[in-house]
């Protein structure tokens, strides 16, 4: 067959064409995009830091880098950003898997960190001197297999309820210590023509707060719940964990939500809260920096309380550790040394001050000796009180590596009244099972 003879010739011709093309386009790309070029002096090492592109992360990261570059000769840090949320998770995982990660990268601590297979992909920092500056409370959330891998970046957060103090004062309400008080408040707020509880399912992740921020109440009722959960012995369909789903269902059934709950987004939710058309917003405290600019009195007028449970005696906060900076194992040689130098600086109070200048801190730092500036928003001082009192428990994602990916969809369903709390909890238990199997945990 003549076909066989012609294959190599044609193949060569085709390849030649492709190569010619690639040479041409690669060249034009090179001229259009390479702005820096290789460093002229070998003495200066340039490393890149990859963070997500939210203002809450990118702004303080840039401020920290600027301060570092100004004082540390020999090492220059450059910022690169990526998408946030689940897309961002994908970017990080893909980059690690393909050996393409930046020299230093920012990522969540806790269960998301555990899913990165740290032993294989991240440089352990356990024996580095810089770890002496990191608060012990933080270390567990970046520890895997006995090694510590990350330096905290940003501030601790609380999950709970942001509330409008003026609305509370006008109606003569007290900050609730139990769920019953919370619901009694809601009835009065609703009677006054104000939406008691703001929900914003236009951004689905915001729907998880009632479940996630209830975790302090779960541990209070059953201290070893997280361990049992990891070992496949405790379930969300059972007490006490199902309470979070039931609370979500309860506020919806009672008609306490804003009417545009299904489409509103975080910013709109915060606007309602600041304006006082909504009284309370279950939220993470990182959102504080997003509302302080909305009106002159927003910083002072919005307060924060932990999500109340059944028992006033065990009332306390569910707390989130900040994200961390990690060095991937693909960073070696001079760059590794430079990266460690940079992280050593990140773990200093000066680095925290640089962050505070870039963006209003929304909680305490996890670096020893770091202080917060004066004149903080009310919600942050409210949060700080819980942390200073030690009246708090870490969120589940810092105690167990398992978090089902569909929780936010399920909480939207329960919170919109599409399914019942019992069905939602059951569905989430199945969701969690996949994650546990993926992680290869015992007992699943």
């Amino acid at each position: 067959m003549s076909f066989r003879k012609r294959v190599p010739v044609a193949l060569a011709a085709g390849l030649a064409g492709v190569l010619a093309l690639s040479a041409c386009t690669a060249g034009s790309l090179g001229t259009s995009s390479s702005s820096g070029g290789p460093a002229s002096a070998a003495a200066n090492v340039t490393i890149t830091l990859l963070t997500d592109n939210s203002d809450q992360t990118a702004k303080p990261a840039q401020a920290m880098i600027d301060a570092f570059n100004a004082t540390n000769a020999g090492v220059t840090v450059k910022l690169e950003t990526r998408a946030q949320g689940t897309d961002g998770d994908n970017v990080v995982k893909t980059k690690l898997a393909t050996g393409d990660m930046a020299d230093v990268f920012q990522y969540n601590s806790g269960s998301l960190f555990q899913a990165l297979d740290p032993a294989k992909n991240i440089v352990p920092l356990t024996d580095e001197a810089l770890m002496g500056n990191v608060q012990d409370a933080f270390k567990s959330s970046v520890t895997a297999g006995g090694q510590v891998y990350g330096v905290p970046f940003g501030q601790a957060m609380g999950g709970g309820i942001l509330y409008n103090k003026k609305v509370f004062a006008d109606l003569g309400l007290q900050v609730p210590k139990t769920w019953a008080e919370f619901m009694a408040n809601n009835a009065k707020i609703k009677a006054a023509g104000i939406d008691p509880v703001i929900q914003t399912y236009g951004e689905t992740w915001t729907s998880q707060l009632f479940v996630l921020a209830d975790f302090h109440n779960v541990t209070a009722a059953q201290p070893d719940w997280a361990e049992k959960y990891t070992a496949n012995q405790a379930k969300y369909v059972d007490e006490p964990a199902i309470k979070g789903f039931q609370r979500l269902e309860e506020v919806k059934k009672a008609g306490y939500l804003n009417k545009d709950f299904a489409s509103a987004k975080l910013t709109q939710g915060l606007q309602k809260l600041v304006k006082g058309t909504g009284a309370q917003y279950p939220m993470l405290t990182f959102a504080v920096s997003a509302y302080t600019g909305m009106s002159d009195d927003a910083a002072a007028n919005i307060g924060f309380f932990a999500q109340p449970g059944d028992d006033a005696a065990s009332y306390g906060l569910t707390a989130w550790s900040p994200g961390a900076l990690y060095i991937p194992t693909t960073t070696t040689g001079d760059k590794l040394a430079a990266a460690k130098k940079f992280l050593a600086w990140v773990a200093t109070p000066e680095a925290c001050d640089a962050q505070s200048k870039a963006i209003t801190p929304t909680g305490p730092y996890m670096i020893k000796g770091a202080t917060l500036p004066d004149g903080l928003p009310t919600a942050v001082t409210d949060l700080k009180a819980f942390i200073d009192d030690g009246n708090n428990s870490p969120a589940l994602e810092f105690l167990s590596p398992i978090k089902g990916p569909n929780l936010e969809k399920i909480t939207v369903e329960v919170g919109s009244g599409i399914t019942s709390a019992a069905d939602g909890a059951k569905r989430y238990d199945e969701d969690v099972k996949k994650q546990a199997q993926q992680l290869g945990l015992e007992g699943w």
Binding site: K5, G17, D117, D260, K434, Q438
Partner: protein, 310 residues
């Protein structure tokens, strides 16, 4: 570049003259190496990774390591609570968008092929939505269809006095709203294919019809409809495959929500991919592949046979 045309296959003596000569003639006129340049790119960057993925569908894959687990992924996938709903949604979405594009695209093309005023304007305008990316369209309609502040519902309130529906937030109609957006965005392409198909019909047919005094309906029924059949089958196949695999528009409008109400198989797969369940997600790919093939393959054979019959 040496010309393959000169490498003539001259070795065997031509014995059976006629068939041999014609085979050689075909070979020389339509050389098979024409398939090679495109084929190599396609095989290396599409077929090879796809074959790889069939292996990974049977593993628990964390990107860092893959453990062979047999059919577990498929079992898990079928236990996925949303799967049955998403399978139904996929079929609804695929057949609705495809059907609407076929019918409306044909109608629009016939109108836009007729000598009406402002034909150029109308052709352009119906094609405009095709020019915007799915991300852009999704974001725009999210804003337009906002249940309380959106332009559409404000207009409805102004006319009827009542609240408009939660187009993308009511679990009962979210999927249908996305279908509507998809048709809005894709109709221009279907129309374009039809217009090209109608333009390819030789003018004699229309001349003859005019001489015979055929009505517009008769022209449509007996000339346009049968002779634009290649265009019809292209529109059907492309829009049905597009609809069954559709993901980007659903993702930029509802993300499969509220809850799981507008999830299709492709968005379930993507969510599992996002969650890091690479093996499971790849198994979902295989399932989607089987579903689409089971529908498209017989359909395309049938359309082909009708096409050659014409």
């Amino acid at each position: 570049m040496s010309s393959p045309t000169s490498s003539r296959d001259g070795t065997p003596v031509v014995l059976r003259r006629a068939p041999r000569a014609s085979a050689e003639h075909v070979d020389r006129t339509y050389p098979l190496w024409f398939h090679i340049p495109g084929g190599v790119i396609y095989l290396v960057l599409f077929i090879v990774p796809t074959v790889f993925s069939f292996y990974f569908a049977f593993t628990r894959w964390t990107l860092f390591k893959a453990t062979f687990i047999g059919f577990d992924n498929f079992v898990l996938f079928f236990n996925e609570p949303g799967l049955i709903g998403s399978l139904r949604n996929t079929l609804v979405y695929g057949f609705l968008t495809s059907g609407l594009k076929v019918v409306l695209g044909m109608l629009l093309a016939v109108v836009l092929s007729a000598p009406i005023i402002a034909r150029g304007y109308l052709r352009s305008v119906t094609f405009f939505p095709v020019l915007v990316s799915a991300v852009g369209v999704g974001l725009t309609f999210q804003v337009l269809l906002d249940p309380f502040n959106g332009v559409v519902n404000k207009a409805i309130t102004a006319v009827t006095g009542g609240d408009g529906p939660g187009w993308l937030t009511d679990p009962n109609i979210a999927l249908l709203s996305v279908v509507g957006i998809d048709v809005w965005k894709g109709i221009g392409l279907a129309t374009l294919i039809y217009i090209a198909g109608i333009a390819a019909i030789p003018n004699e047919y229309f001349e003859a019809a005019r001489v015979d005094g055929a009505s517009s309906w008769q022209v449509f029924r007996n000339i346009i409809l049968p002779l634009s059949f290649p265009a019809t089958s292209t529109v059907i196949i492309l829009s049905l495959i597009g609809g069954l695999r559709s993901f980007d528009l659903i993702w930029t409008t509802t993300q499969g929500g509220p809850g799981f109400a507008s999830d299709v198989v492709a968005s379930v797969i993507y969510k599992q991919y996002q969650a890091g369940f690479y093996g499971l997600s790849t198994a979902g790919n295989v399932i989607l592949f089987v579903v689409v093939t089971a529908i498209i393959y017989p359909l395309s054979r049938w359309l082909n046979s009708k096409e050659t019959a014409l």
